[in-house]
Subunit: 209 residues, 2 copies
């Protein structure tokens, strides 16, 4: 599991010409950074007299951020597995018509996984972004800049995952499936950019910068 | 050094209520993700017949991305050290006027480091973004989506670092210093948002999505 490896190892592998990890795993790690910062903000809000009124909502936010963090960590691995399968399919022999047909079928099967993994990253990133909106409203003001960073990271995860979904959708031959996946992507990204800008504007207003 | 710790440990520490690591280190890691993806794109462009003409430029890009990756990795630690020093200064006793004066002086000294670390992250993020523009033009088309993710991550690092610079600048009493730091920040962010959009538009055009 990649999360047990060092940051340095992950970055070395990302930088190398090896097929995995790639942009999808980087997107999932961005999502995990967002969720972790949301957890930090929640942890620094809980138990403070000034924020006693919002304690139940913050507890719920913390549960959600920790669940998202675990999911994003898993998605780093899922993207590696899915893209590894696709990369292996592309390397299958294609000398004879039979080999070509088998390879093509294998690529089409693998493409579904290679689109599904970043799509799930995008869907989780949207949840992480929605959570930042809540924390920008009720979280500890002393760490409002960290809510801003969490929102930026969630949106970066969403935009990055989007590119990885689109590049795979384009070559999926089952157009009905591709259309269904595209609809899920559209739902995840709808309004995400202006929401990120709103959270950042609110954070900067509260930071008074 | 944080880069020798596991991803899981880093995320656990980020999520905790401990003062470090925080948003600044998350920004530096985003920058490292961008630089690593740029290295991957360069590594997957070098030695390909189709890209022989741009080989010298790609070699230069790879040198730069690897230098940036090393710098961002160091900046994860620098931000932890600088913010740790600030956090320690805030915890100094303030019972007597003498203690108050000593604490205030220590906080002001630590604030300079706490602004300088994210400022250097922002400056490096701008370089990482400029590098993505080059790779979007001459890098291997098969990994153009990874150039897009690298640009998104560089811009996220820049925007995140910006918030961390601003929140510290605000409380620096040496206004001449604060003004100088702000000018460096302005130089780093000038035109970064439209440049990111241009890179993404170019990537999507080449991806044909």
């Amino acid at each position: 599991m990649m999360q047990q490896e060092s940051l340095e190892y992950f970055l070395d592998q990302l930088a190398s010409s090896a097929p995995t990890p790639g942009g999808g795993s980087a997107a999932a790690l961005c999502g995990a950074l967002s969720a972790a910062l949301s957890s930090m903000v929640a942890n620094l809000t809980l138990g403070r007299e000034k924020y006693r009124d919002v304690e139940p909502a913050i507890r719920e936010a913390l549960e959600q951020s920790e669940r998202l963090r675990a999911d994003f960590t898993q998605l780093i691995n899922d993207d590696i597995a899915a893209y590894g399968a696709l990369s292996a399919a592309y390397r299958l022999p294609k000398a004879t018509p039979n080999e070509q047909a088998a390879r093509s079928a294998q690529i089409q099967a693998a493409l579904k996984g290679a689109a599904e993994a970043p799509l799930r990253i995008a869907e989780h990133a949207r949840q992480a972004l929605d959570l930042c909106r809540t924390l920008a409203e009720i979280g500890n003001l002393n760490v409002i800049s960290d809510v801003g960073v969490a929102a930026i990271a969630a949106h970066a995860a969403l935009e990055s995952a989007e590119l990885n979904v689109l590049i795979n959708l384009k070559v999926i031959k089952d157009r009905a499936l591709a259309e269904m996946l595209l609809q899920r992507l559209d739902a995840a990204r709808a309004g995400a950019a202006p929401m990120t800008q709103d959270i950042l504007a609110a954070a900067r207003e509260k930071m008074d910068v």
